[in-house]
Amino acid sequence: MKSKVLAIAGGLLAATALASAPAKAADVKIGLIGGVSGPIAAMAPAMIDAAQLAFQQVNEQGGILGGDKLVGVVGDSACSPQGGTDAATKAVNIEGVVAIVGPHCSGAVLAAAGSVTIPAGITIVTPSGTSPEITGLKDNDTVFRTVPSDDYQGRALARTLKGMDYNKVAVSYINNDYGTGLANAFKSEFEAQGGEIAGYAAHEDGKASYRSDLAELAKGGADTLVIFDYGDGTGLTILRQALENGFFEKFVGGDGMKSDAPIKELGADNLTTFVASSPVGEKSKSLDMFNEAFKASGGDPSAIFVTTSYDAAFLLALAVEKAGGDKAGVSAALREISNGEGEPIMPGEWKKAKELIAAGTAIDYKGAAGDENFDANGDVPGTYALFKVAGDGFETITEMK
């Protein structure tokens, strides 16, 4: 009996090991590590599809390097450090990827970078890891992101609000890395600009009532409530209860709050004093080109983080081409192809880019989510605007600097 069970267990192991025969060697592989299972399971598939679209365009327009096929190897980080390191190790060692798009969640990025990709010298570009901690990693210049740090949005929002005569506000933020990062940055910048934070508290996700939290925040005497949360989740509950009970007069949200849910649920009439900041894909030709291509492939271009995912994938493809397929050269090449100087390349213009690279001309990728010019830490500045509710949607009030 005992030996039989051991044999079954051994057989299972052997079967899974055997099934993992390596794929064709001629393919150039880039890892796509995302939170397929886990808390962001609803967002991850669209992000991965957007990245695959970039690879598909590369393959349709002549392939990478000497006409090789570019393949995206999907890995599941489950949004946790355990899953992130596991997926990254497999991508780097088993699949032999030249670079990685992802992981999606900040905790997974930090762990995968610290234990796998930095020691292995593999360049990673995360499309959605927004934690300010990623900025300070000692990464030998191998960790990049195409999404701005939460720090940046928080500071820009604070400056913009101060400029619009909001002087005394209360802040309520969701207790995760997104909310905390935004709120910390907002608070320090708002106070530095001479504003007053009259209430500052985190709240937990998914409670039925936040009235006591709101009452506590309102005690400080602020007339404005700044909410860093998600508009189709807890943020909606907070907004509704604050309105119902008249705790505050004016409301400000971060990009998570710029969602259709509050308008649908609460009505535009009740939201005349509500404004929200959000990254704008800078009404650019690049964005239109991406939207069109993504729609044609059956995707929804307004889904969150799809533009940054696409940019990360296309940038890495360009960098691999530029570096001639050499893993170690990818990070340097990544800086060369998107530093604001050179012939502009739009999303999908692979053939043109490939010819220019072959000719040795400098190129500059203009991404769907922005120019994607990396700073010294591998971060990108975002383009944000402040929106107000108009009709059934949002309209821009002002650009945020």
Partner: protein
């Protein structure tokens, strides 16, 4: 190239298996030998990870830290901190039996997680602690993994020897007596509450050590790592599958479950591209299926608890 990659992946798996085996060993002390249903492994894992992170990481603005002590001090600190946290918890909760204790410990782990997520001054809240030093982390990729695996293996081997020795000692027999028949043990004059507390603290310290090893390996620790799925229930599956009450079973369980968990993803990657995303869920299913099969056909686990009475020499068994 291909071979080095495989070897590298094996090294990585070895490290993770070692870390999970420590957690499973800790749980084995609590469940396998003292019969305490601790469903709050993640909490002690987190206490250990964060304690060591705070003790050894360089200074960062806005949180406690900057001590930059050597890693082994951090690891010992992690064990002490986890034990210290376990003491009051055990004092209060161990009066509960089986499933009530499970509910209480889940609650405790959740409290620990929320404290870690919320206390910016202590743990940098949701952003986590980064730049934790890794022993021999300056070596190249492969060598650094090898060195770390050696350390993990050494720690695990040491822990295994100590725990195994303890179980074969009169203490271990007493624990099993308390587990199997509390009234009889009490009638024989054993202080049941005190002994249970001992087992709880001892096991929690090992879990704390596992957490510390994990944080140093990743050079970072964030609250996302203390998710109950990966830090509590996966460990339970490992112990049940390997054989609770058997230390070698706990280690084997960790190896089997982690290998299947990790390697099955490579297998599902062979499916056509359009299933790439959906296929990721197969491994969740596989782990569940395996647990069902083991519970149905082999409830005592792959390596069942040894019948110690017969195996011990007469000399040892007559001492109790």
């Amino acid at each position: 190239m291909e071979l080095i990659g495989l070897a590298n992946y094996a090294l990585f798996m070895g490290i993770f298996i070692g870390i999970y085996a420590l957690l499973a060993l800790g749980l084995n002390i609590q469940w396998g030998f003292a019969g305490l249903f601790n469903a709050g492994i993640a909490g002690f894992f987190a206490v250990g990870a964060y304690t060591s992170a705070i003790l050894t990481s360089p200074y960062a603005e806005g949180r406690l830290g900057g001590f930059e002590l050597p890693f082994f001090v951090g690891w010992i600190g992690a064990m002490i901190a986890a034990a210290l946290i376990a003491w009051p918890i055990g004092k209060i909760c161990l009066r509960f039996r089986s499933d009530y204790l499970a509910i209480a410990t889940i609650g405790v782990a959740e409290i620990i997680r929320l404290v870690i997520k919320s206390e910016a001054e202590l743990t940098n809240s949701a952003r986590g602690i980064t730049n934790i030093p890794r022993p021999y982390g300056d070596l190249p990729y492969v060598e650094s993994q090898m060195a770390y695996l050696a350390i993990v293996a050494l720690v695990l081997f040491g822990a295994y020897l100590l725990v195994e020795r303890q179980f074969n000692a009169p203490w271990g027999r007493m624990m099993r007596a308390i587990r199997d028949n509390e009234l009889a043990a009490r009638a024989m004059g054993k202080n049941v509450e005190y002994r249970r507390l001992e087992a709880f603290i001892f096991g929690s310290a090992l879990m704390g050590l596992g957490g510390a090893l994990f944080a140093h390996f990743n050079r970072s620790i964030t609250p996302e790592a203390i998710d109950p799925m990966v830090a509590t229930f996966l460990v339970w599956i490992m112990l049940i599958l390997g054989g609770s009450g058997n230390n070698r079973g706990a280690i084997l369980g960790a190896a089997v479950v982690w290998t299947i968990w990790s390697v099955s993803e490579i297998a599902t990657d062979q499916l056509p591209q359009e299933y790439a995303v959906k296929a990721k869920y197969i491994r969740l299913f596989l782990i569940g299926l395996m647990l069902q099969l083991v519970l149905r056909f082999r409830p005592e686990g792959l390596l069942p608890e040894p019948l110690r009475g017969g195996q011990q020499s007469d000399d040892a068994s007559s001492k109790s």
